[in-house]
């Protein structure tokens, strides 16, 4: 599984480099290190059914609006998780 801490729902970012893990109270978790077995996917455009890629780090939302895969979708009312994600 090629997932990182920064993509995990338990991860709370302190800054762009690192953050906390709520699952095990670890206060020094590097964002880009591999996640653990308790990984839970955080909601982002990357796994949204309305998102399509136009580039590695850019895409479209509902074929109209520019979006980007790492945009957090927790507060997005349009979010719909892709199947098999």
């Amino acid at each position: 599984m090629n997932t990182k801490h920064k993509d995990c729902l338990n991860y709370l970012s302190l800054d762009v480099f690192k953050g906390f893990c709520r699952n095990n109270d670890n206060a020094n978790v590097l964002a880009d290190e591999a996640s653990c077995n308790d990984f839970k996917k955080t909601l982002t455009c990357r796994i949204c059914a309305h998102y399509t890629y136009t580039d590695e780090f850019l895409g479209l939302c509902k074929d109209k609006q520019t979006a980007y895969p790492d945009l957090n979708a927790k507060t997005c009312e349009m979010f719909e998780q892709k199947e098999n994600q």
Partner: protein
């Protein structure tokens, strides 16, 4: 190993605050693209809509979509972004930096990936600054870290705003000013530090929290709805759009608060620790309450004020949004809760420590020359204490004592504290402030309440400001005297008078004119050798008398003020048309009543534009040297002096030596050729010694400068006034200025502040310095600024504290407006320069602000080390 004396007072915060502060020490300045993404997306969807409505919808969309983040142990929550020290660019204000730096940023992101992730956590110097790219993070301008996967969206958004940003639109129209070429030359030669309208269009003002405290958010929305019904279809149609826009914006803020409440509820459900679980529930309840209703408790009120502080900071690029007299605003809630047994003083103290950390987390993503060169990364959230009530009695209260105590126990740069000194304040209150000074954080600074009131009456009297209203003033930004007003707050069946800010941004208009640089150009017939430009029209004068020289100086200065005022007015006009303020407008009296935003003179007081200067003491010392050496004693000619300046008096340049302090400069092989001239320059009378010769020059300059500012008008059709603070400009401006006739060497920093002596030249003790500083009327200017560095042994013990208070009183009673102290041993600072890893939490006072030593540039570090250190007072 260097031995030094540490500061006397050193307390520790509560365990909770210590944990949160440690999180902060570990956090880096981080960029999030969420807000600009959602803002731009909505803005573009609404092409053709009325601008203020479009703006409101874009703000609502952005606020509603911010990802909430709550850290464990927090009691006061919410932040600008989902990072602790988070900020974001606002390409709707300025996109040019990103367009110009695009290739460099992409290259950085490619190279950064080659460094291992281990290097990520090893930034010793720079504190929270992301000084270099590493791993998946690109460094922007040596301060902000951006995830490289967010670089493409940043560039995409920047491109969408090209030609439409406040900067681009403003630039297009400012070129229509007849003297625009002069303005360009002035900016290139760094005679002026930065543009005004698109860099920091708001700030250096005092916020007003009254309306959400009094009415709650639902109440404010209902006011807007009622007003819409009242004005729809009537003349002054802009009022309809303002109210609709305000309603929309408030709905966005409500969504934002409720998202945080939802997050707190979610966290309470997954939290295993019972105590933390209950804390999350309490946070959720507070947020749910304030999302709709006026606060009823101290904690609710504290959260409400902080939430709206953030909301204003998120709507624009802002530095210097001051909480004002927060202790007096929150006092009714504090008193009420104590009487009802709902809170204890210990709990309040813990909350105040948490508040300090939250304010310290605030970051500002402005243009690079602004953040580094002027602000030193500071955000200037200035909390004022003391002053007078409306009826003229002392306004100091018990909550303010706790605020001082939290500033002692949990020392952080924000909020900085300003004590509005008045003879009526209790002695115990002032001594508590001195205790806080002895921690060494440089706060509270001391401001003269009576001088401020006089200034306000002179400049706002024509707008209806009275003596009673003037007493509501507070400090905006680092040192900007700002008018306020009194509000009747209703709480639990009682009515209280609380103060709030009543004017929009100040320190807008003309940002920092470098006086020594203009003098350099006077000597060189208007020509700047560094940029090879004929900046001013050549005067072709032989400069045969001091009066002639000074007259030309004033002419060049006035031309600079004129063209900068006109150009910045256009930029501010672009700002108010394209990105009108909504959050701050709703808060500021009397925008809601009038139905007009700040940009359309909705505020009660609008005479806020000013002319800032830098390097005044070096100017005055140089004029004294010229007068004495060339025109009276004829020791050398102007041409001989110019040659000496060209040769830097026989010294290597500061950028060669890497030191910007006057004391560390290195002579070259030609030093003997210039030693005589330099000695004569150094020996000429210097400001700060109570010497009539130079003080009379200073007084004449101040009298002329303070008066001439009124000849220029802002976009509000109000006169400008003088503003004299250096912030950090004395470093970058010194860096581009040749040696000066007072003996200062090329590239070294100017004297800091506005009435601080140049390092090493104040030889007759502090009271002589005070006499020099007060040779002019401080109430003619928005401020004056005096830094004093004192060795800890000079103020040790109770006796030392009393002496420091007497010194402060001495200055205030002479008519000085402001004084602030660095209580520090310079040897410690030298050690900190050599071993920054050992000094992560060391703070110093620069000029109007406190900053972490490791986050200051070397120029400023050198300058602070060089400042005269008083061993006794």
């Amino acid at each position: 190993m260097i031995e030094f004396t540490n500061r006397e007072i050193n307390k520790t915060p509560t365990k909770r605050a210590q944990i949160l502060r440690d999180f902060y020490y570990n956090a880096k300045s981080s960029v999030s693209m969420e807000f600009p993404y959602w803002y731009t997306r909505k803005w573009n969807e609404l092409e053709g809509e009325i601008t203020i409505i479009r703006r409101a919808e874009a703000l609502k969309e952005a606020f509603s979509h911010l990802t909430p983040k709550i850290f464990p142990k927090e009691l006061l929550v919410m932040g600008k972004t989902n990072h602790m020290r988070g900020s974001y660019p606002m390409p709707w204000l300025s996109a040019s930096y990103f367009m110009a730096a695009s290739d460099k940023l992409y290259e950085e992101s490619l190279n950064a990936g080659k460094l291992s992730a281990d290097k990520v956590s090893k930034f010793g110097t720079g504190g929270g600054n992301v000084t270099e790219s590493a791993g998946s993070v690109v460094s922007i301008a040596g301060k902000f870290g951006l995830r490289k996967e967010e670089l493409p969206i940043l560039m995409d958004l920047a491109k969408k705003w090209v030609g439409k940003s406040v900067e681009d639109i403003g630039c297009k129209y400012e070129k229509m000013v007849p003297e625009y070429d002069l303005k360009e030359s002035i900016m290139k030669s760094v005679i002026c530090m930065f543009d005004s309208g698109y860099t920091l269009p708001q700030g250096r003002e005092v916020i007003d929290y009254y309306y959400p405290l009094q009415y709650g958010i639902d109440g404010l929305i209902n006011i807007c709805k009622d007003k819409i019904k009242e004005v729809a279809g009537s003349p002054e149609m802009d009022r309809l759009y303002f109210y609709k826009a305000t309603q929309t914006m408030l709905e966005g803020i409500q969504n934002w608060i409720l998202n945080y409440a939802k997050e707190a509820r979610y966290l309470s459900e997954i939290e295993k620790d019972e105590k933390q679980k209950n804390e999350y529930i309490e946070i959720a309840e507070i947020l749910e309450w304030i999302s709709a209703k006026p606060p009823q408790t101290f904690r609710q009120a504290l959260q409400m004020t902080f939430t709206f502080h953030l909301a204003v900071l998120n709507e624009d690029c802002i530095s210097g949004l001051s909480p004002g007299r927060l202790g007096q605003v929150l006092y009714p809630y504090y008193k009420n809760d104590l009487e009802k047994g709902l809170i204890s003083k210990e709990k309040v103290s813990e909350l105040l420590e948490c508040m300090r950390i939250k304010y310290t987390e605030l970051d500002c993503f402005a243009s690079m020359g602004v953040v580094g060169g002027v602000l030193s990364g500071n955000t200037f959230n200035n909390l004022s204490i003391g002053g007078l009530k409306k009826n003229g009695g002392s306004a100091a209260n018990e909550l303010e004592l706790l605020i001082l105590e939290s500033g002692i126990s949990c020392a952080t740069p924000q909020p900085t504290l300003s004590l509005l000194y008045d003879e009526k304040l209790p002695e115990a209150f002032k001594l508590k402030a001195i205790e806080c000074n002895k921690v060494g954080t440089g706060y509270p600074a001391w401001m003269n309440n009576q001088v401020a009131i006089e200034f306000l009456l002179k400049n706002y009297g024509h707008e209806g400001l009275t003596v009673e209203e003037a007493r509501a003033w507070a400090i905006g930004g680092c040192l900007e005297t700002s008018p306020g007003t009194w509000h009747k707050l209703e709480l639990d069946g009682k009515t209280y008078l609380i103060p709030g800010g009543a004017a929009p941004a100040t320190s807008v208009g003309v940002h920092f004119i470098s006086l020594p640089k203009i003098l350099e150009l006077v000597l060189h017939n208007g020509y700047d050798s560094r940029t090879d430009q004929q900046v001013y029209k050549a005067h072709d004068s032989k400069l045969e008398s001091f009066d002639e020289l000074f007259s030309i100086f004033k002419k060049y200065f006035a031309e600079s003020v004129k063209v900068l005022t006109l150009c910045n007015n256009i930029q501010h006009d672009a700002w108010r048309k394209i990105t009108p303020s909504l959050v701050n407008s709703m808060l500021k009296p009397d925008c809601l009543a009038k139905g007009k935003d700040i940009g359309n003179k909705g505020s009660r007081y609008n005479t806020t534009f000013n002319v800032e200067i830098c390097g005044g003491v070096n100017l005055v010392n140089s004029l004294a040297s010229l007068k004495k050496n060339i025109y009276e004693e004829k020791s050398f000619s102007i041409d001989e002096l110019k040659n000496a300046i060209k040769e830097n008096f026989g010294y290597k340049k500061a950028k060669e030596t890497g030191s910007f302090s006057i004391f560390d400069q290195v002579p070259n092989e030609n030093v003997d050729k210039w030693v005589k001239i330099r000695k004569l320059c150094l020996d000429a009378p210097k400001y700060g010694n109570d010497e009539e010769y130079v003080d009379s020059i200073f007084a004449a300059w101040e009298e002329w400068y303070c008066e001439m500012c009124h000849d220029f008008k802002s976009i509000y059709d109000e006169p400008l006034y003088a503003c004299q603070i250096s912030v950090s400009t004395h470093a970058p401006m010194g860096a581009v200025t040749l040696a000066t006739p007072d003996g200062r060497l090329e590239g070294t920093t100017y004297a800091d502040a506005s009435v601080s002596a140049y390092p090493g030249t104040d030889k007759n003790g502090p009271y002589a310095l005070f006499a020099s500083a007060c040779c002019w009327d401080h109430s003619n200017s928005q401020n004056s600024q005096l830094n004093m560095k004192i060795h800890p042994s000079g103020v040790s013990g109770q006796q030392g504290a009393k002496k420091l208070l007497e010194l402060t009183k001495g200055y205030m009673r002479k008519g000085g407006f402001h004084i602030q102290y660095n209580i520090v041993d310079s040897k410690m600072l030298k050690d900190a320069q050599a071993n920054p890893d050992d000094y992560r939490d060391l703070m110093v006072r620069v000029a109007g602000f406190t900053q972490y030593w490791v986050e200051l540039g070397k120029h400023i570090q050198d300058e602070i080390i060089a400042r005269t250190e008083y061993e006794s007072v």
